[in-house]
């Protein structure tokens, strides 16, 4: 996960999308923070551009930061052997991000998992249903505001 890759990518994209792409994090934790409206464009460039060729979506997950939800994409380029982290954010009430299944079909189950557990809607997903919890389950259990049982998941008050 070299900084070089992140910097190169940013330098190239900055000209076109200077307002929508930023760097977050320090050193090894650097990542591209992309506004969700141009997420697909940028990911498509990362996927197809000769100098990046990020052909693998190794991991896709989301984190609930209470004020906003952050979706994290870990990409890997098999031909060039390099990795990059891309992030995007959405608000909690109307959590919506475009689906990347058209670029990497491997996102299918992972987006369903995020939808199921964290309640992020992926627009354009071919089959957005719950995947781990039962269909009739209320709420999204991995959200920080989700109350488990009597409000205590350590089991002290059972």
């Amino acid at each position: 996960m070299s900084n070089r890759v992140v910097n190169n990518v940013l330098a190239e994209l900055a000209a076109q999308y200077s307002e929508d792409v930023k760097i977050t994090g320090k050193e090894a934790q650097q990542a591209l923070l992309v506004e969700s409206q141009c997420l697909l464009n940028i990911l498509r460039i990362l996927n197809t551009n000769e100098s990046y060729q990020f052909d693998m979506l190794r991991n896709l997950t989301a984190v609930d930061y209470l004020e906003y939800m952050e979706i994290v994409y870990h990409l890997y380029s098999l031909p060039l052997r390099q990795a990059i982290t891309v992030k995007t954010r959405c608000n909690m009430e109307d959590a919506q991000v475009p689906s990347v299944t058209a670029i990497w079909p491997s996102a299918n189950f992972q987006e369903r998992e995020i939808y199921d557990l964290l309640g992020v809607k992926f627009t354009g997903h071919p089959d957005l249903r719950r995947i781990l919890m039962p269909e009739e389950f209320p709420g999204h259990p991995l959200r920080k505001t989700y109350q488990v049982g009597n409000g205590n998941i350590t089991g002290e008050k059972r």
């Binding site: 190794r58 997950t61 982290t85 991995l142």
Partner: protein, 365 residues
Amino acid sequence: MVKTETYTLNMGPQHPSTHGVLQVVLELDGELVVQAIPRMGYLHRGIEKLAESRTYAQFIPYTDRLDYVSSMGNNLGYCQTVEKMMGITIPERAEYLRIIMTELNRIASHLIFMGSLAIDLGASTGMMFGFRSRERILDLFDMACGARQTYSYIRFGGVSADIPSEFVPALQRFLADFPAMLEEYHGLLTGNEILYRRLKGTGVISGQRALEIGLTGPALRASGIDYDIRKVEPYSIYDRFDFSVPLGQAGDCWDRYIVRMEEMKQSASIVAQALEKMPEGTVMSTIPKLLKPPVGEVYHSIENPRGELGYYIVSDGSTKPYRLHVRRPSFINLQVLNEACQGLLIGDVVAVLATLDSLMGEVDC
């Protein structure tokens, strides 16, 4: 006029060849599969949520229960992720012990694969043989940490205890016997014409498609894509060993079987090399009792027997992870089931399931 229509058949969740509680909803046209939709979640325990209310060390035993036939790998991936966050270095001897244990565990896991593949295709003796050899490895683990399946042997800063004096001779005996065991299985299974005809050309996944759909591990390499994290991003001390990555070509069930059989040979060679080079010394570095990784996040992945096992941890500087996500190879590999099964006979769904080798403890997390 004769009118035909497709019908739906439920395979599982209680079915011997789904290896746990997986339900596959089959849409059938006569005996041919039109669609095979996997439905999971029957074993979902909410491990990621539980992690948020446990300290970092308390989470180690939960990793044992993800992919429960290769727990050493799960321990290793998790401990290395936290060590990466904290910048902990571990003693040389512990690195070697970790390699020995995870590679032995890879052999044990592939032996289960071999046994379960055999019994799924109706050769029940195959399973007995696989489990017999695996027992030798479990005895070794038992000596090292007292557990046969849920080890929690690899800890932050090293391993929980040094190996006892009887471990090395027993391991050497196993390594000496192992080539003959493999030879026997090749004679029983690889040379078996029924098995060959059931597996050859069944459930073909092209290399390009395997990559797109996110396959990792032996299932990806059977399609000819050279992606083994031990080689492309060597973690621990894998860069010190001489081993090759077996690749398939056709991407069918047969190649997935052969790739795993060859991997066992490579793993045995890594164990032998590690045993030879292993230095004396301590097995645990001095680390704080209660870990508080600095604010930040890290993604780290290792090559588990089923594919890329990744951990993504977000720390808020407290004693508990703010968010912990596990990238489970079994879960993502299952995506390919539907297209790999289309057009096959019902009986071959079992072969595809067995060679994808998904494990429900990991799928459902």
